[in-house]
């Protein structure tokens, strides 16, 4: 082989799965098409709450090519106990949604029937022929109407960080000479990954079931569907080699998996269910939020008291929670702070995590309040942040494993040219366009979760590294390959990464920006263990060049183990296997975080976002024309793919700031803009060139490989920086996201 690719930490390796994706060979969930597969189409409820009093499927069944119509009246037996429907990421309290379980309707868009047919066209057509009578019940989908019923769940959700107040925030606020206090609102958002949710249940006929599923966690889907269907874990395999985006919507198994399994179980045939774009609005979403932020400061802008309270929506059946009010209180030095977070029930599907859940909501709204304080104190917004800077995590008063936010501010501001900003609103313009410069701080978590990985060396000298994680777009295949290359010294061409298969060693769901830290560490450990075993084998080869050598005498590289003192002496990996008469060599390792150490120090990513907007003064149209996002996220494994993650986060932030909102007609309790023509996401023309800066942090404590994750930090702060830039451009403070054109006029 010639031109072998060397890669290690910091190499901008192109995605190893890139060729498969650009040639159309990457196989997504709906693209598993077994022979004689049936296609099923979902029929959804037209009412927000109540009961199905009659469901007539006869006209649908009469259509040639329709095989069956499943409803709550004829579904096969499934588990009844709620616990059997709890996936690994479900809220601890509540009753997970069970499709076609009984006659009750609890949200508009709920699946109530499944039409199974020989072709997707027939299934879709026949689903329009169902005749359903409903009995409406009283419902409420408007969060504003139930704020007074908001409550603090007794048992919080796993992973939720309870806000911690300090001192007397209310008193400190009311004593402060400068005060800003306002209520902010974030509209509901839907993830809208471009691939629609799909599951293909492949009925193997011998009791075995293979399922291709769009999911961020094959182990989670496996756990869930085996429990719900009462299937033998050893006979069920979930595959999800490629995921066409998910952004959190694939953390929980979505209902198409359950429905496809239900139909396959009843008909004992292979069945595929693909959601429509409209149906993609009938599952989890980023919940609506009302947040009140009161900031008290002295005249120099030093924070004296913070009062931050928020209410987000949950469903009638589960207590979905996010960490919303903590972030600002963690970032800024302030002696007194009162934090309060509640949820309130509305009659929609249970909300679910969406890219930086809680942080994107809470910190973006908090950072608009900080901008208001800057103007109330007549201080530059960046200067205000610097005056309230702290090296410690201020909410729990803990040290960080690392925090290079100060460098983010400095380098981001220099790159942007922030010092050329004129402070007064409406003071910068270019012809008929008002120019606004805004900035904000971002913060997110740097988590790690127990993950196992396997490394296997084959007789031909190729290496496979594997764990049951997902790659919904961050570049996990590439990251795993690169860490294996870094650890073993093998060229990229000799390494294959495998993921998205429930038969592989355990990995948690891909989410929370923790995959690189978790799966990356596991791959490194497995490769290290493999090399040790390989050396052990080499040492035992009598008369071999490495017989009896110690670990500290040898080096690994170019697919060889060699003597450090004389690098010409050594053995190729495949020579060792051949001499030791082994077909392959394998090591599986579990990587897990040190719990005690995790409690001692805070671990977070930080960012400083600088944005330029231009607003057409006559028609109010706003454009983002420049973004600089300076991010401190530990070590960067691959600058090319890491930059892309920040680009994606910034684009999500643009959507949050200017475009995205799911609008309900509360009179009928239904999302009204449930398609991509009316739910606006940023398109190419909406997105400017984005400068991404990484402020490298050498952090040996956050996790063994020192990476903090970059999947979510890009969205936190970006929406606020845009909102603040819009104020700077227009002098108009909008406290609701998204800031659509009607709010600027």
């Amino acid at each position: 082989m010639t031109n072998l690719t060397r890669a290690g930490f910091g190499t901008p390796l192109s995605r190893v799965d890139g060729p498969a994706k650009v040639t159309g060979q990457a196989q997504y969930a709906a693209e598993f098409q077994p022979e004689d597969m049936l296609h099923a189409h979902v029929h959804t409820a037209r009412i927000a709450k109540g009961k199905i009093t009659r469901i007539d499927v006869s006209r649908a069944l009469a259509v040639e090519g329709v095989v069956d119509v499943l409803t709550h009246e004829n579904r096969p037996k499934v588990a009844w106990f709620d616990l059997k429907y709890k996936d690994m990421t479900a809220p601890l309290r509540g009753s997970p949604f069970k499709a076609l379980y009984d006659e009750n309707v609890i949200f508009s868009g709920q699946p109530i029937a499944l039409v199974v047919a020989e072709t997707p066209e027939i299934a879709r057509y026949a689903s329009t022929l169902l005749d359903v009578d409903y009995k409406w019940a009283e419902f409420q989908t408007d969060l504003a109407q139930v704020l007074d019923q908001a409550f603090v769940p007794r048992i919080p959700r796993a992973g939720y960080h309870k806000p911690k107040s300090r001192g007397d925030g209310e008193q400190a606020f009311s004593d402060a000479p400068v005060q800003v206090s306002n209520r902010y609102h974030l509209s509901p958002e839907h993830h809208n990954p471009l691939e629609m949710f799909a599951s293909t249940v492949i009925w193997e006929g011998d009791g075995h079931v293979t399922i291709s599923d769009k999911t961020q966690g094959v182990k989670n889907s496996h756990w869930y569907i085996c429990n719900a269907m009462g299937w033998d874990r050893d006979k069920v395999r979930i595959l999800s080699p490629f995921v066409g985006g998910a952004f959190g919507s694939g953390l929980r198994p979505q209902y198409q998996l359950y429905l496809a399994a239900l139909a396959a179980k009843k008909l004992e045939r292979s069945v595929q269910v693909v959601m429509t774009r409209q149906e993609m609005f009938g599952h989890g979403y980023r919940p609506e939020c009302y947040q009140t932020v009161s900031l008290g400061a002295d005249r120099e802008g030093h924070l004296k008291g913070i009062v931050n309270s928020a209410v987000t929506a949950t469903s009638s059946i589960e207590n979905y929670m996010e960490t919303v009010v903590n972030w600002g209180s963690m970032v800024y030095r302030c002696p007194d702070a009162k934090l309060d977070y509640k949820i309130a029930k509305v009659d929609t599907a249970t909300p679910c995590d969406m890219r930086a859940p809680g942080g994107a909501t809470g910190m973006n709204l908090f950072e608009v309040a900080m901008d208001e304080l800057a103007y109330a104190c007549d201080i530059d917004p960046l200067e205000l942040r610097l005056r309230n800077y702290t090296d410690r995590e201020a909410m729990k008063d803990k040290p960080y494993t690392s925090k290079a936010l100060h460098d983010c501010y400095e380098r981001g501001a220099a790159k942007f040219g922030w010092d050329r900003r004129s402070h007064a609103p409406r003071s910068m313009r270019d012809g008929h366009e008002l120019i606004g410069w805004g900035m904000a701080t971002g913060i997110w978590e740097a988590m790690m979760a127990p993950t196992s990985a396997r490394a296997r060396l084959s007789a031909d000298g190729t290496l496979e590294v594997a764990t049951a994680t997902a790659d919904m777009g961050p570049g996990t295949y590439t990251m795993m390959t690169q860490i294996a290359a870094d650890t073993t010294g093998l060229p990229v061409e000799k390494i294959t990464a495998k993921l998205g298969d429930s038969d592989l060693p355990f990995s948690p769901v891909q989410g929370g920006s923790m995959t690189a830290a978790s799966a990356g560490t596991a791959v490194q450990k497995a490769c290290d263990a493999l090399l040790e075993e390989l050396l052990e084998a080499a040492r035992r080869i009598e008369d071999g060049p490495l017989a009896g050598v110690d670990l500290d005498e040898v080096g690994f590289g170019d697919g060889r183990i060699y003597l450090i003192d004389d690098t010409k002496i050594g053995m190729r990996f495949e020579e060792i296997l051949a001499a030791a008469e082994m077909d392959s060599l394998e090591a599986t390792e579990l990587a897990k975080p040190g719990i005690i150490n995790m409690m001692r120090k805070a671990r977070n990513t930080h960012s400083a976002v600088f944005v330029e907007v231009r607003v057409d003064e006559d028609v109010g149209m706003a454009r983002v024309t420049r973004v600089v996002n300076a991010v401190a996220a530990g070590r960067i494994i691959n600058p090319k793919t890491a930059r892309s993650q920040i680009l994606g986060g910034v684009v999500f932030g643009i959507g949050m700031a200017l475009e995205e909102e799911t609008l309900a007609d509360h009179r009928i309790g239904r999302w009204m803009n449930h398609n991509l023509a009316e739910y606006h996401v940023p398109v190419n023309a909406d997105v400017p060139d984005i400068d991404v800066l990484f402020v490298e942090e050498q952090d040996d404590e956050v996790n063994p490989i020192g990476v903090k994750g970059v999947g979510e930090i890009g969205v936190v702060g970006t929406a606020a920086a845009i909102a603040n830039a819009l104020f700077h451009a227009t002098g108009k403070r909008v406290r609701e996201l998204p800031i659509t054109i009607d709010k600027l006029l």
Binding site: P12, S14, R15, G18, K21, V22, T23, G24, Q27, Y28, E31, F32, Q33, P34, E35, D36, E64, G65, E118, T119, E121, P193, L194, E195, M196, I202, S212, F242, V243, G244, G245, V274, R277, R411, G473, P474, I636, P639, K640, T641, R643, S644, L647, G648, V650, N675, L676, A677, V681, P682, V683, N684, A685, D686, V687, D689, D691, V692, L693, F694
Partner: protein, 178 residues
């Protein structure tokens, strides 16, 4: 794995089938199709050409973009029976001899013009359509004329870098973070 072309699915021997002749990626096909079959469903379900993606089925996302006689269209909005005699090119037909990547495909990989990869075949076919049209000369024009293809992962700046490379017949260094 598990891909089986189903040109005539069981149970649907419809009397309404209409004969069409079209070429897909250079291969001439005689097909008897129910008149309601969209080009997208023909490709994905009957010809097992799943490189063309379904993202909305309503012409709102661009994931299903293919080339028909060199022009880019949303294949979800086109009935297959209306394409008698047409030449269809999908992402599977873009690569050159021996699987060598098309310059656009190569540029998308180099510039990381995608993340999840789901919109990518549509982006690449759309980009080829844009090059065929010959209207776009500047980055701003490409941006405007590529706005029918949603990339929810937000790879837009990299998509532009990739298309600019091919438009200007050059191989530029991918942008790096500072």
């Amino acid at each position: 794995m598990f891909r089986h072309p189903q040109t005539t699915p069981k149970g649907v021997e419809t009397d309404d089938a209409i004969r069409v002749q079209l070429s897909v990626n250079g291969e001439p096909l005689d097909l008897d199709l129910p008149p309601w079959t969209s080009l997208l469903d023909l490709l994905r379900h009957r010809l097992a050409l799943t490189g063309t993606k379904k993202g909305c089925d309503h012409g709102q996302c661009g994931a299903c973009t293919v080339l028909v006689d060199g022009r880019r269209i949303n294949s979800c909005l086109k009935l297959a029976v209306s394409l008698d005699g047409a030449e269809v090119t999908t992402i599977e037909g873009m690569a050159g001899e021996g699987g060598a990547l098309h310059p656009l495909q190569d540029a998308f990989v180099r510039h990381d013009g995608f993340q999840c990869g789901y919109c990518t075949p549509g982006q690449i076919c759309s980009a080829q359509g844009l090059l065929n049209e010959g209207h776009a000369q500047s980055r701003e024009e490409i941006k405007e004329l590529m706005s029918g293809n949603i990339c929810r992962c937000g790879a837009y700046p990299n998509i532009l870098d990739a298309i600019e490379d091919v438009l200007n017949d050059r191989v530029s260094e991918p942008r790096m973070p500072e």
